[in-house]
């Protein structure tokens, strides 16, 4: 992603620059037209998202394989996740995507107030998502379900010892070797949601920066590529969650 500020610093501007035709100030010297510049940067963003898909792809592959191998463990481990929190978070994230899309529209139609409002809302919703995620993580911590840190299979070899989950699902006890594979589920749970959360944190930091820039009027002068591309990133992070939510929380809950 390119930051549109300080365009003039890095790239050498020559005497030829002065002879150029009238350009908008945000047009970089090496592009012929604004259209070309927008096209190129958008295309670059899509390509970057493609690399992100491949990046997450490795984790999804691992999930797919181990889910097939250790199916009973994955089913019972997924019972430990609370659908309420997951659904809530999904709603929060989809809403934030909506506010982000509205932000892009506001930038395009040059409504500075609306843009700032939308960015702030997106920012807050992103924080809410991370907050809910923290609650979920701390719950795992308390139940010793964080892999690698005093992991306990108690809830799976003896489901009755975990009454809250037991009264809802009546899980059968797993044999020790299968129960130990629930740790793999939580490995993947933490790796995938953690990697997703890291992307959220990066997104929120950029949003914070954008709010200040938007207040200064940087995105409401007709040059909206940055907002647009950030929007693409934000939606992408959203879509990753849209896959994580069913894979980790929903599928095969009732056996």
């Amino acid at each position: 992603m390119r930051l549109p500020v300080s365009d003039s610093t890095a790239v050498a501007h020559g005497a030829a620059e002065a002879a150029h035709h009238e350009h908008p100030p945000y047009q970089r010297h090496h592009f012929e037209t604004m259209g070309q510049q927008n096209d190129a940067t958008n295309f670059a963003m899509w390509l970057f998202l493609l690399t992100e898909i491949m990046f997450f792809g490795g984790l999804f592959t691992a999930y797919l394989i181990y889910r097939n191998w250790y199916y009973p463990a994955f089913v019972e481990a997924s019972h430990q996740l609370q659908i309420g929190w997951g659904t809530g978070n999904t709603a929060v994230l989809i809403t934030s995507s909506f506010t982000m899309a509205m932000g892009v529209w506001a930038a395009e139609t040059r409504r500075k107030g609306t843009l700032v409002l939308c960015l702030v809302l997106t920012f807050i919703l992103g924080l809410v998502f991370l907050g809910i995620k923290t609650i979920e993580y701390s719950e795992k911590w308390e139940k010793h379900h964080v892999p690698g840190f005093h992991y306990s299979v108690q809830s799976f070899v003896n489901p009755a010892s975990d009454p809250e989950v037991y009264k809802e699902y009546h899980d059968k006890p797993l044999a020790m070797d299968m129960a130990s594979k629930t740790e793999m589920y939580f490995f993947l749970y933490f790796a995938m949601t953690g990697m997703h959360a890291l992307h959220m944190i990066i997104g929120i930091s950029i949003l914070g920066y954008m709010i200040f820039r938007a207040q200064a009027g940087a995105y409401t002068t007709g040059h909206v590529t940055f907002v647009e591309n950030f929007g693409l990133y934000w939606h992408f992070v959203d879509i990753i969650w849209i896959y994580l939510f069913p894979l980790l929380y929903l599928i095969s809950r009732h056996q």
Binding site: H30, T41, L50, T51, G58, G148
Partner: protein
């Protein structure tokens, strides 16, 4: 070969001058380089840094060969030897071969070849160099802190459980270097799609651009998979995540799949840009359009596509299913087809061409012969039966060194000599560089050909000692490595010399047709005084003749 047989046409040396305004003279001072957005300056930054890492990797190779001079492990301790070949592999693969041609010559030439003022994303380009340097500094730190001994492949569970060396910093260094490579590839793809000059259609692009495009696709799609794999390795070592740990239900074979899903295409990231160089050089020095332009262009893309579906041929002895072996063996054979298309088309380009033997062409001939041997022995290894016999022996070491060193390094040197006059405005000294090319070729064969024989005799790779009957061939190999070392040192010396004392090259010393040759050397920061309008095919030497006639007519 007589002196008359040359296409080099230099301006009158008594009056010729390097143009006052050019990208090198435009701004001065260290900061103007460290904050530059100019693709040509970034290319030069890359050229200097990858040369530095090449010589570190080369020094390590020298130590390896010196240790193997005698059957006993006597020069270094065996675990030091493990570190030597691991660091050699890591540095050469991630810090030399992957960025070699794309980040230097590609960076320098692609915008000019497509008729653009710069790459689409100049800051991302600079960022990619900084990432490369950050990764490189981490790598040097790792080396000085004691190095890593997993081999360049990070094989699990060795890397996660059994070694006590610096796997984490190495993994992070390669992770960062990976992003540098992703950004280079991304920039190339965007530039080639969106920045072409008017009239520059896809099938008018020089083949160098096509091959870099194909390599960029591999960089963009493959490297992130390596990145996540390395993240998992680092997480396994730091917090004990068990995705590759059998004790926790993980599967080390999954690591192999993920690693080779990148690292096999990486082989094509390394070789494809080199093939692009050869296309340019062969056409220029036989004064003919590349035979079967479209076939060569598509064969690059075909290599990129097939390259994604052959990774498991690195795993034939790792216990994957027999059917998988069958399929991957077949797919591996398929990659030989587009590679052969290239070799045949270069051969047909030479046929009835007016061939001259300047240094880039000598290196290109070296490439064609050595790459062919490297490629053909690849077919031995792709066939599962022979692979089971030959894998993990010196045969495989010889095979990939024929492709990587005999192929890519030759292509890189060919390209550096070919575009040197464009980069610096001065010619390299012809005679001594021809000598260097020949020395490299001889040294290379002396080093690596005996290793094929050693491999078939059963000498395993990655051991510091070997049975005494293998010594004679190892002595040949070590002697060859010394010759090869001289062959690589020579260009550094005379190219540096030529910066000050080389003959003034003029715009187009080779009478080549590419757009980059139609502008001054070294070029302006903006490359072109005005964006060119392209009305001719690539490698159209008649167009070039007409251009020259027009020039003469207008002067007269």
């Amino acid at each position: 070969m007589s002196d008359a047989a040359t296409i080099v046409s230099l301006p009158d040396q008594s009056t010729a001058r390097i143009p006052k305004m050019n990208f090198l003279s435009k701004e001065n001072g260290l900061l103007s380089w460290l904050l530059t957005g100019d693709h040509k300056r970034i290319a030069i930054l890359y050229l200097i840094s990858i040369t530095f890492f090449f010589f570190i990797g080369g020094a390590l190779a020298g130590l390896i060969r010196l240790e193997l001079l005698t059957p006993q492990s006597d020069l270094v301790a065996t675990d030091t030897y493990n570190k030597l070949f691991s660091m050699h592999g890591l540095i050469m693969v991630f810090f030399f071969l992957v960025p070699s041609v794309p980040a230097t010559i590609g960076n320098f030439c692609i915008p000019m070849m497509v008729g653009a003022k710069d790459l689409a994303l100049p800051k991302i380009n600079l960022l990619s160099w900084y990432l490369y340097m950050a990764a490189g500094i981490m790598m040097i730190y790792t080396m000085s802190a004691g190095g890593v001994d997993t081999g360049w492949t990070f094989t699990t569970p060795l890397s996660t459980h059994y070694v006590n060396t610096h796997v984490i910093t190495t993994g992070l260094a390669v992770f960062i270097a990976g992003f540098s490579s992703i950004f280079t590839g991304l920039n190339f793809i965007v530039t080639i799609h969106k920045m072409r000059a008017p009239g520059m259609t896809w099938f008018r692009l020089p083949l160098f651009v096509w091959s870099n495009y194909a390599a960029s696709i591999l960089m963009v799609l493959g490297t992130p998979v390596l990145a996540i794999t390395l993240v998992l390795i680092v997480l396994e070592r730091t917090v004990g995540i068990g995705v590759f740990d059998p004790a926790k239900g993980g599967d080390p074979l999954l690591f192999q799949h993920l690693f080779w899903f990148y690292s096999h295409p990486a082989v094509y990231i390394m070789i494809l840009p080199g093939m692009g160089v050869i296309s340019e050089v062969v056409s220029t020095f036989s004064r003919k359009r590349v035979f079967g332009y479209t076939a060569v262009a598509f064969s690059s893309v075909a290599i990129a596509v097939f390259g994604f579906f052959v990774w498991a041929h690195h795993m034939f002895i790792m216990g994957i299913s027999n059917y998988a072996v069958l399929i991957f063996s077949l797919l591996t054979m398929l990659v030989a087809v587009p590679s052969a298309i290239k070799i045949f088309n270069w051969a047909f380009t030479l046929y009835k061409g007016s061939i001259t033997f300047e240094t880039p062409m000598l290196y290109a001939f070296g490439f064609m012969g050595l790459f062919t041997i490297g490629g053909m022995t690849g077919v031995f290894l792709g066939a599962s039966g022979t692979d089971i016999h030959l894998t993990e022996t010196y045969f495989i070491v010889a095979h990939f060194h024929f492709v990587m060193v005999g192929g890519m390094l030759m292509a890189f040197l060919s390209g550096v000599h070919f575009w040197w006059p464009k980069m610096t405005g001065r010619m390299y000294p012809e005679k001594i560089s021809q000598l260097a090319a020949v020395v490299t070729f001889i040294g290379f064969n002396l080093t690596f050909f005996p290793q094929f024989i050693l491999g078939t005799l059963g000498m395993p790779r990655r051991y510091a000692s070997y049975p005494p009957e293998f010594q004679i061939l190892n002595v040949f190999s070590t002697a060859g490595a010394s010759v090869l070392g001289v062959g690589y040192l020579l260009p550094v010396l005379y190219l540096t010399w030529s910066l000050k004392y080389g003959a003034i090259a003029g715009n187009n010393p080779w009478q080549a047709t590419g757009l980059e040759w139609q502008v001054q050397s070294p070029p302006l920061t903006e490359n072109f005084p005005e964006i060119p309008i392209v009305d001719h095919e690539a490698y159209d030497y008649e167009w070039l003749e007409r251009q020259k006639e027009n020039e003469v007519a207008s002067v007269g």
